[in-house]
């Protein structure tokens, strides 16, 4: 699933480690989500949305199939 996580993180000047700390996950998880290699669970998606003060559907884009 594509997402705007990297751009949102960059806008705030956060490193992947910074975002990982805020989300309570590992830096590896943040990187995997940003690269589309891993889709977060619903609770984590809500945490991400709350962290960036945005809606889930504004951050994550369903795959076009």
């Amino acid at each position: 699933m594509n997402n705007h996580l990297r751009a949102l993180r960059g806008d705030r000047g956060w490193s992947q480690a910074d975002l990982a700390t805020r989300l309570g996950v590992s830096r590896q998880t943040v990187n995997a989500i940003e690269t589309g290699k891993y889709d977060p669970s619903l609770p984590l998606a809500f945490t991400i949305a709350k962290t960036f003060d945005q809606r889930i559907e504004d951050i994550f884009l369903p795959d076009q199939s």
């Binding site: 309570g24 996950v25 590992s26 590896q28 998880t29 990187n31 995997a32 690269t35 290699k37 891993y38 977060p40 669970s41 984590l44």
Partner: protein, 125 residues
């Protein structure tokens, strides 16, 4: 909930316990007669292994969702590969391959678990 450093220290203690107790158990069994208690002496090295397994489970509980998924994949890989190796070696015994002690199953599985972790991590890079 214990932090990662504490769990790591406890795991190292378990590993040290295993490294110390295994040769002591072997030497003791060779030098002394324990009669009906010989199996107890032989199984003493299992205690730190059980403790290490308990610590590992606690550690896995503290991992985030992706890391837990990686551990599931790695353990599945280790389990399947260990089973295949054991099955294959069992079949090869029929054609003269020396019998391997079951004591090697755990170290082989742990090694394959480590390989499985690296493979699973690579998938998510």
């Amino acid at each position: 909930m214990r932090n990662q450093k504490t769990l790591a220290r406890l795991f190292y203690l378990a590993a040290i316990g295993y490294v110390v107790l295994l040769p002591l158990s072997i030497i003791a069994l060779r030098r002394f007669e324990f009669g009906v208690f010989a199996p107890v002496i032989a199984l003493i090295p299992v205690l730190p292994v059980i403790w290490g397994g308990f610590i590992t489970m606690k550690r896995i509980e503290q991992l985030d969702e992706l890391q837990r998924r990686i551990q599931v994949h790695a353990l599945g890989f280790a389990g399947i590969m260990t089973s295949l190796l054991a099955f294959s070696l069992g079949l090869l015994e029929r054609v003269g391959t020396p019998q391997l002690s079951l004591v090697w199953v755990l170290p082989v599985m742990i090694a394959l678990w480590g390989v499985g972790i690296q493979i699973a991590k690579w998938r998510y890079k």
